[in-house]
């Protein structure tokens, strides 16, 4: 199907980092089953470096590919860099997404932010709340 780039199809067919980290240091889940997509990201963090990352996704092809690409982009990187990952960067790394699928890359960005926030909360690390928009503000879903 020509709907997606080869990169998207590759990450969809062979998603990297699928799974669960039982003793994760931070877990983030965003999306809504009613809207048709949910992403969950598990982070293992050692000395401020993301030493391992796994994801689970319920959603369309581009949602699965976006999660896969996003995990690749932050694996082995410092937490601060993960926080800077934008949805645009995810989409670009996938050689683009169709306009009506851009929200999948937004979900990937938000899922990572949510996981980092969870890590900060668990460890009593101070942070700027403005960095973490809540899901309700996106207005993607009609439900």
């Amino acid at each position: 199907m020509a709907l997606y780039s080869d990169k998207v199809m590759d990450h969809f067919r062979n998603p990297r980092n699928v799974g669960v980290i039982e003793d994760a240091d931070g877990v983030g889940e965003v999306g809504n089953a009613k809207c048709g997509d949910i992403m969950k990201i598990y982070l293992k963090i050692d000395n401020d470096i993301i030493s391992d990352v796994k994801f689970e996704t319920f959603g369309c092809g581009s949602a699965i590919a976006s999660s896969s690409m996003a995990t690749e982009l932050i694996k082995g990187r410092p937490v601060s860099e993960a926080l800077e990952l934008s949805n645009k960067a995810v989409a670009e790394a996938l050689d683009g997404l169709p306009a009506h699928k851009m929200h999948c890359s937004v979900l990937a960005e938000e899922a990572i932010k949510a996981a980092v926030k969870d890590y900060y909360d668990r460890n009593g690390i101070e942070y700027d709340h403005a960095q973490f928009p809540d899901c309700e503000s996106c207005g993607h879903c009609s439900v």
Partner: protein, 396 residues
């Protein structure tokens, strides 16, 4: 293996239909309105095609208008009935919540003009009853339009009973028979149908051609103005090759309706039985009152588009009513109309088979769907929560 299981979207043309078209592309290519012989030969072909289509529906040739397809026929039937009603001060129309958009969007347009539309609720089994129609009819009702069979879940409506109610109450009755024509017996007189839409590409004919049956005496409103073709009710030089292909395809399909229905519904039931083994899935639509080739399931914990993409990788062409495939933010209005919650409707799969489908293919389909559903559930956080008891299953 390559399996085409999307026959409700469109069908492969039959050899008979292709052969019926060919001479009209480069030999008898005349304009049926022309006086010369090549035009007149085209005109004879047109008349014969009209007669053959009419015979398949149990009406007269003069009651058939050729259109560009099902959508145009639906639009013209509804607009015409609305104009007739309007002239008598009747501006109420009854339909159902799970019609095709060709019907629903036309009704929306009329609502903006001041018509009142009642959309009947569809039962969980995908059926409406004649009783519901009867109770909804008012003094100012000018049209009842109920589809013959639903395009997504395949359920067959009690058209004869609804026709009888409308006739008794003196209200015009239109049915969108796009999914039914060529697959189910239709007799417009016996079933008291006043107007009926059909489309050739759903029964192995060509795309872009359809027909509207209009009972004698019902005045049509033009959607397209111009020449005097189609009794002046639909302008434009007739697409003779497509019309010939449609007539041949419809005749062929109607000639073997019982045989095809028996064969295809046996395969359908085998497919339904196989897919029912997948836990936490549910068949959409009545198991018996459904089109011979239609299978439609919802599977919990997965999303339809990724299901389709992975099935495509396995050579299976299918369809889904998830939001991602419907091109809108909401899942299929049909699945919502039968009461499926959003989260379940996103995980829908429609497989529509044909006379050409084999038992071997059905068995392959069952295996492929089982494999893909379980793979996607394996990476789904929704499924994890369902399995761990954190959230509740909706289906058994």
């Amino acid at each position: 293996m390559n399996i085409y299981a999307d026959n409700a979207a469109t069908t492969k043309m039959s050899r008979t239909a292709v052969d019926a078209m060919l001479p009209y592309l480069d030999q008898i290519y005349g304009n049926p309105s022309s006086l010369h012989s090549v035009g007149q030969r085209a005109n004879e072909a047109l008349a014969s095609a009209r007669g053959r289509v009419a015979a398949c529906l149990g009406c007269d040739a003069g009651e058939i208008i050729f259109t560009s397809g099902g959508s145009e026929a639906d639009n013209q039937a509804i607009i015409s009935a609305a104009r007739i009603g309007e002239r008598k001060g009747k501006k109420h129309i009854i339909s159902t919540a799970f019609e095709h958009h060709a019907v629903l969007h036309t009704l929306n347009k009329l609502e903006k003009e001041g018509f009142e539309v009642t959309l009947l609720d569809v039962h969980e089994n995908g059926l409406v009853t004649a009783r519901q129609v009867e109770e909804a009819i008012r003094e100012d009702t000018c049209l009842v339009t109920v589809m013959y069979a639903n395009n997504e879940i395949g359920t067959i409506q009690p058209i004869g009973e609804i026709g009888a109610v409308c006739r008794a109450k003196g209200v015009l009755f239109h049915t969108d028979a796009v999914q039914a024509a060529g697959h189910l017996h239709i007799d417009v007189k016996e079933q008291n149908i006043d107007m009926l839409s059909l489309s050739a590409h759903k029964f192995h004919g060509p795309k872009g051609i359809g027909a509207l049956y209009v009972k004698k005496g019902i005045a049509l409103t033009n959607l397209i103005e111009g020449g005097a073709q189609e009794r002046g009710k639909r302008a434009g030089t007739e697409n003779i090759p497509a019309i010939m292909g449609m007539a041949a395809a419809l005749e062929e399909a109607c000639g073997s309706i019982d045989e095809n229905a028996a064969k295809v519904s046996a395969l359908r039931d085998r497919l339904i039985a196989g897919l029912s083994e997948i836990p936490h899935g549910v068949l959409n639509g009545d198991a018996v009152k459904r089109l011979p080739g239609n299978v439609n399931f919802c599977f919990e914990g997965i999303e339809g588009e990724s299901l389709l993409l992975l099935l495509d990788d396995k050579g299976v062409c299918a369809s889904s009513g998830s939001a991602c495939t419907s091109g809108s933010l909401d899942p299929s209005h049909v699945l919502l109309a039968i009461g499926r919650p959003h989260e379940i409707a996103h995980g829908s799969l429609r497989l529509t088979i044909s006379e050409e489908t084999t038992q071997e293919e059905v068995d392959y389909l069952i295996g492929a769907v089982k494999e893909v559903v379980s793979y996607l559930r394996g990476m789904s956080p929704v499924w994890r929560d369902l399995e761990s008891g954190k959230s509740k299953f909706v289906t058994a």
